[in-house]
Amino acid sequence: MRKSALNKWTDRSFFAVGLIATLTGLGVLLILLTDVLTDGSGRLSWQFLTSYPSRRPEEAGILSAWAGTAWIMALTGVIAFPLGIMAGIHLEEYGKKNWFTGLIEINIANLAGVPSIIYGLLGLGLFVRTLALGRSVIAGAATLALLILPIIILSTREALRSIPFSIREASYALGSTKWQTIRYQVLPAAMPGILTGTILAMSRAIGETAPLITIGALTYVAFLPASPVSAEFPFINLNGLSDAFTVLPIQIFNWVSRPQKGFFANAAAGIIVLLTITFLMNAVAIWLRHRYQKKIRW
């Protein structure tokens, strides 16, 4: 009797501790959001979203910054997503277990913990100088893609590992090849997990400043990368890839360090825009995950 009373008490106190832990995180987030919203919401306007940087805080805007962030994030996804997933599939489904794959595995896990500025230096040496891509959108996106690749590979492998082996055996038993098994059984089932990992990785990349400053992302850019859609054949214009760019965190960082107080409100408003983009990005990924989850019927 006493034992069970103690157990009940432990049960309740664990619930309380868990609740407190959750509320702490939420509370801090709430304070941060209120602070940023009170400081920045007054500055949020159409003019702010459609103007270029200026020395006068009230005229300055973040058009080049949010457009740059949108370009970089889209491209980073396009590069890192297929590469990461394919590498993950190879390591998990095809790779033989020997010392060599063991070595690769350890290295990938280590890479996930390397400080981001190191990736900036790699990007500067490899993409900007050796491949002569210059300080361009494509060099920035490739650098961030490298940065998040290990996280995507690791989460892909975790997701693949969580698929019961019996599913694969059933598929083989029906005469599927290995590729068919992966393509039609394993990958769709693992997709929700892979997407969760990708959300986390992309959210890390969107806030990065150090590697982009290292490869030479700029602060003052008063033009946009060329539009990807053109009116003439072949209707795709990739000039934008080689344009110079800036991103939201760099613009925010610059405003925070300026002496004029008016720039602080701009920085807060910039943070609101950055948060909104992150939320939108996550919302799309969660919607995708939901769609895939509905498809699984075992």
């Binding site: 602060t219 008063a222 060329a226 080689s242 110079a244 002496p259 107080k261």
Partner: protein, 332 residues
């Protein structure tokens, strides 16, 4: 479905290969974050007139800027100190010749909390006692700086070691660039320093005057005496006048842009630099710096016209107590 994807992919790759990578005329600038506000202001005005010329500016620091500049990656480098010997060498190795142009003065302000009622002025000697490496852990109380000052703790605030301001201050006050005590609150973000001094009655710190101008209500400026009566007697405040006539020494420094000679041949860079020198006086004042005397801008314009390369500072990096027009005249 698959065929469509394949066609789109092929088209995309084909487009990538055929589209000529040409972005139109661009003026590429990078370097000091101290000089950045002036460059930003000039670029902003320039692009109102020259819509088709793109100007880009970064903030990788004076040293980081020179690395890119000497590698031929940028047209113009912002610098809060003259070019150093190592940088001169790298530039020479890569065949990058440069035209050095001063654009404004930046005064370093010594700041205390408004509640501090004992510090009336400071001599350079006293500043040295506060900041030199030998004082680390030893000179920690106000009474150790001057007799009669309260026997309370002294809290020091200053920029971090990556900053050009740190290089200049240590050179001017301690006598050796980079020689500083380490036990002070350091931040690359000057607004953190402002906050620190504003909330601590026993604090003292140094940073650019622009930050004082925007925080006059929470900081008190301290006059500085360099002990050299030849350049004016007595302690001086970093006012516009004192900086320009050379009495606020040694804590006033010129800031520069370096233009690559090869880039200066391009019409867009030439136009931009000419515009920069024309507007520097007005725009540097607007963003919180002190303009050079008109004569100095004229000399700089001539220097650019003649494409005079090299540094008048001889690659010695930060130099203390220079009057820019004297140096430019030396070269005439």
């Amino acid at each position: 479905m698959y065929r469509l994807t394949a066609i789109i992919l092929t088209a995309a790759i084909a487009a990538m290969l055929t589209v000529l990578v040409y972005a139109g005329p661009v003026v590429k600038i990078d370097g000091s974050s101290t000089v950045y506000p002036v460059t930003e202001a000039v670029s902003e005005e320039f692009q109102k007139i020259e819509r088709w010329i793109k100007v880009t500016a970064g903030i990788s620091g004076t040293g980081g800027g020179f690395k890119k500049f000497c590698n031929g990656e940028t047209d113009i480098s912002d610098a809060s100190r003259p070019i150093k010997e190592v940088e001169v060498k790298t530039c020479r190795e890569h065949g990058v010749e440069y035209i050095e142009l001063p654009i404004a003065y930046d005064g370093l302000a010594i700041m205390v909390n408004p509640k501090n009622n004992w510090v009336d002025y400071l001599t350079v000697h006293e500043l040295k006692k506060m900041w030199e490496p030998a004082s680390q852990g030893k000179v920690t109380r106000w009474s150790q700086i001057r007799h009669g000052w309260p026997d309370t703790e002294m809290h020091l605030f200053g920029p971090g070691v990556d900053s050009g301001t740190f290089d200049y201050f240590t050179d001017a006050v301690v006598g050796k660039s980079g020689a500083s005590r380490g036990d002070y609150t350091a931040s690359e973000d000057d607004n953190v320093l402002v906050q620190g001094i504003a909330t601590d009655a026993f604090a003292l710190g140094y940073f650019g005057t622009a930050y004082y101008e925007n925080n006059k209500d929470v900081l008190r400026l301290v006059p500085v005496d360099d002990g050299n009566d030849a350049d004016g007697k007595g302690p001086f405040l970093p006012t516009h006048e004192n900086v320009v006539n050379g009495t606020y020494q040694p804590l006033a420094r010129p800031i520069f842009i370096y233009v690559s000679k090869k880039s200066a041949g391009a019409p867009e860079v030439k136009k931009f630099v000419e515009f920069y020198l024309k507007e520097a006086s007005k725009l540097s004042t607007e963003v919180g710096y002190i303009p050079l005397p008109q004569k100095a801008y004229e000399l700089a314009r001539k220097r650019f016209e003649k494409r005079t390369t090299g540094s008048v500072f001889g690659g010695r990096g930060a130099q203390v107590g220079v009057k820019i027009e004297d140096i430019l005249r030396r070269e005439e």
